[in-house]
């Protein structure tokens, strides 16, 4: 049963620290998405890739966030430096042909 995996599942860090979240998409999927979910803003698309190339990162604060796909089996989302307002659940999703499959999420708490 293929599924998207994300690590870590939970991360607590202090303001100013670097945070790296990792995602392994489903093998064969050609699109990867990063979302952020908070109570106040709901589900927001941060960035997405097709065939490892970044297509849209307009939802991402560029000064502190970066998203990469070093290879087809790994997508990363990095925050440096982190701030308390970055506290949220970050979901990765992978897809093929329009349908998306979500990972379990990384719950980030920045103190």
């Amino acid at each position: 049963d293929a599924r998207v995996t994300q690590t870590p599942r939970d991360k607590v860090t202090e303001m100013g620290q670097e945070v790296t979240m990792r995602c392994q998409p489903i093998l064969g999927h050609n699109t990867v998405f990063w979302y952020r979910q908070t109570m106040m803003q709901g589900l927001e698309l941060l960035a997405y890739f097709r065939n490892r190339a970044p297509l849209d990162d307009s939802g991402m604060p560029k000064d502190r966030f970066s998203a990469e796909m070093p290879d087809a089996t790994l997508a990363t989302l990095k925050i440096q430096p982190s701030e308390p307002r970055d506290s949220a659940v970050y979901f990765c999703a992978s897809g093929l042909g329009g349908e998306q499959f979500f990972g379990p999420g990384t719950r980030l708490t920045v103190l």
Binding site: L43, L45, F91, A93, G98, E99, F101, F102, G103
Partner: protein, 118 residues
Amino acid sequence: AQSVSQHNHHVILSEAASLELGCNYSYGGTVNLFWYVQYPGQHLQLLLKYFSGDPLVKGIKGFEAEFIKSKFSFNLRKPSVQWSDTAEYFCAVNFHMNYGGATNKLIFGTGTLLAVQP
């Protein structure tokens, strides 16, 4: 700009009541339509999808949705809800561009929080 609207933000029902959650989108072209469910503390899971064919789509756990192109709607229904259906429900749309290709990007509605009372 393409957008997706879910009119009911919070719905409270008793067990065995019927459910209908509204979803409308703002685009006259070709679309793929989805409903996702997020149980408390979990990730989004696909309930059902529409790509083409019969506009009445059946999904998992007794859910169905009907695509009405003339109304730009894709409402979710279930004839009899259970306590275990308590969750947040998201409508999502994949818009096909004029050149015929799908964007792969899903536009999500703001979600409807359903609470089913036993």
